[in-house]
């Protein structure tokens, strides 16, 4: 069977000593940065990009992938222990996980989250191995019009990243697309919006925006709070293992979360984040005791955690098959592939099979390592968190600054990040969420190129986007998603209007 042969090739690649070491390093680093609030996987991978020049492509990507799913594990740890989600997808975990911790059940919460994630990760890996090749076939049918429509779908999916106002999220996406226009036009070679600054004509580095908006913005916002609200609070974790009842309650939630996560992860833009939100909603709907949610329901930890990990896994599919990054971390992985001289896209599977299958099997190995790493080391992660914030934030600031400087060995990027730090604080004050902006920024140049190529091919006929079946389907899904998201919004506003009338 092809699949088995391919997996065998993968394991052959993964199980070499070097690759195992890099996978382990990636998982360890990932868990560490997932635990540290303010230092996400994006910033870490960005900081490490320069250092992978020295590595071969396969170990480099294996390590980066390890950081990615390691941070998914680590993020849940802080979410449960101190109500600080280490990264965006564990926001949901914090809802019930932290309540469990307050009831002295941090152990079961952490264990269920680790085991659920492991199960979901295994399933996700098998799904990638089984479905990546047929999806790659599909990818060859993609023309510029289809790519454009897919990106529209991805960006609409990014709206889900924002918990606040729908229309402001759309505005932030477009702002991101516009910031992506500061570059040299790929087709005509004209530098745009660069104000004759040579550094700007290459485009703004994604890391500069990410660190400015998220890193600096968050530090400033935190310091703006009164000192007593800043301190991170810790508690002893007693008892690691969940009871039989816990297992019985969480097993179906894990299963449902895995299915949901695997499906949603494939969608560009939404990925694991969308999956964890959806799973929480589903579990609450299905539960006979929905009133327990938000007060320490174990299903509320098990479901979203599995969904988030399965989604993180299957979000590799669009990256590996289409070369389209579904989220910021994947965008950096694409960048890393380009650094190593590999053009991401459907041809990777045939041109670099050992890289492709090695990466997939390394995910499974990585997940195994993470469970082994996480269960006993939980105690150490907690100790790291007892570091007071007044020590933590200068260190985070320093790591960001050094990362920025080493992007181009140039202080221009450091200066530019000051501007984005200011912007980040403005967004924070105006309740405009920066995550959609970032995705718009990443997809902007690609979207423009495909739009213009599609229009060239169709001789300026916009109708092509809706008459080509694949493209029309994708656009239809985008519209559907927008409608679904807008509906509760509309309803709420109408209710408000009715109340006013009374």
């Amino acid at each position: 069977m092809d699949l088995l042969q391919n997996l065998a090739l993968g394991f052959e690649t993964t199980l070499t000593l070097t690759n195992l070491i890099y996978a382990f390093m990636g998982c360890l680093l990932g868990t560490l940065v997932g635990v540290l609030p303010g230092l996400g996987p994006t910033a870490t991978i960005a900081m490490l990009l320069p250092s992978i020049y020295a590595l071969d492509a396969t170990p480099a990507l294996i390590m980066l992938a390890g950081i990615y799913y390691g941070s998914q594990y680590g993020g849940s740890t802080t979410a449960i222990l101190i109500n600080v989600p280490g990264e965006a997808a564990s926001v949901v975990t914090a809802l019930d996980g932290y309540q469990m911790a307050r009831q002295g059940r941090a152990g079961p919460a952490l264990a269920v989250s680790a085991l659920g994630s492991f199960f979901a990760g295994c399933v996700g890996t098998i799904i990638i191995a089984a479905f990546a090749p047929p999806l790659t076939e599909l990818a060859f049918k993609f023309g510029p019009a289809e790519y454009f429509s897919l990106m529209v779908l991805g960006l609409i999916g990014a709206v889900v990243l924002a918990s606040g106002s729908l229309i402001k999220a759309v505005a932030m996406i477009i702002l991101g697309l516009l910031l992506g226009q500061i570059n040299t036009d790929v087709i005509s070679g004209v530098p745009r919006f660069s104000f004759d600054v040579p550094e700007l004509s290459d485009g703004i580095n994604f890391v500069v925006i990410a660190m400015g908006l998220f890193g600096f913005g968050e530090i400033i916002a935190n310091l703006g709070q009164p000192a007593e609200q800043r301190e991170v609070f810790t508690k002893d974790v007693k008892g690691l293992w969940p009871s039989k009842e816990d297992f019985k309650e969480s097993a179906p939630a894990v299963l449902r979360g895995t299915v949901l996560g695997s499906l949603l992860g494939v969608l560009p833009g939404g990925g694991s984040l969308l999956a964890s939100f959806a799973s929480y909603t589903l579990e609450k709907k299905l539960s006979p005791t929905p009133e327990k949610f938000g007060k320490g329901a174990i299903q509320g930890v098990a479901g979203p955690e599995s969904a988030n990990n399965a989604g993180a896994q299957t979000s590799f599919i669009p990256m590996l098959t289409l070369g389209i990054p579904p989220n910021a971390v994947m965008a950096l992985m694409v960048g890393a592939m380009t650094i190593k001289g590999i053009q991401p896209g459907p041809q990777v599977m045939s041109s670099n099979p050992e890289l492709f299958w090695g990466l997939i099997t390394s995910m499974w190995i990585g997940n195994l390592m993470l469970v082994i790493l996480n269960l006993p080391l939980i105690g150490i992660w907690i100790r790291l968190l007892t570091v007071p914030y007044r020590f933590l934030f200068p260190a985070i600031l320093l790591f960001c600054c050094i990362g920025l400087y080493t992007l181009n060995n140039n202080n221009f990027d450091v200066y530019l990040s000051v501007l984005f730090g200011l912007l980040g604080y403005v967004f924070y004050k105006l309740k405009c969420e920066p995550a959609p902006l970032l995705l718009g920024f990443i997809l902007g140049p690609m979207m423009e190129e495909n739009l213009r190529r599609a229009l060239l091919l169709s001789r300026g006929n916009w109708g092509d986007f809706v008459t080509r079946p694949l493209s029309a389907t994708l656009l239809g899904m985008a519209v559907l998603m927008l409608v679904i998201m807008a509906l509760p919004n509309l309803r709420r506003k109408r209710e408000e209007a009715f109340q006013d009338a009374e």
Binding site: A54, V170, V190, T406, K493
Partner: protein, 153 residues
Amino acid sequence: MKIKSQRDFVAGLAFIVVGLAFAWGATNYSFGSSARPGPGYFPFGLGIILAIIGAVITFEALTIETEDGEPIGDIAWRPLLIILGAVGVFGFLLPRAGMVISIPVLITMASAAAGRIRWLDVVILSVVLTLGSYMAFVRGLDLVIPVWPSFLQ
């Protein structure tokens, strides 16, 4: 007319201004036609769309009732200016004075943003982070970062 949401009102106006600025800037580049879109085509369209969305947000901020008027609230000037200043100073100092000077300066300034400076903390943190950065980034990852001031080399 009374502003119903201060935050959205300001955000909407900002989106209008930025959108129009990008659209106006895009007129400097050839627009092309739909069949042969030029470098100005995409940014012009996006700028106009952003301005329209901004107008909708502004309109909603003036019409849709909110509970507390969604005020922008106090601005944390001290951390804002000091943190961003610290990053700027670090960027200026690093290539000139190296890690041994720029890291302690960054730590000291950052600590000032949190309130009263505790000098013992600052000294300990500076020593630990300078040494740690040197070991991790220069020795470990082999990054090219100036360690000593340029006049010493």
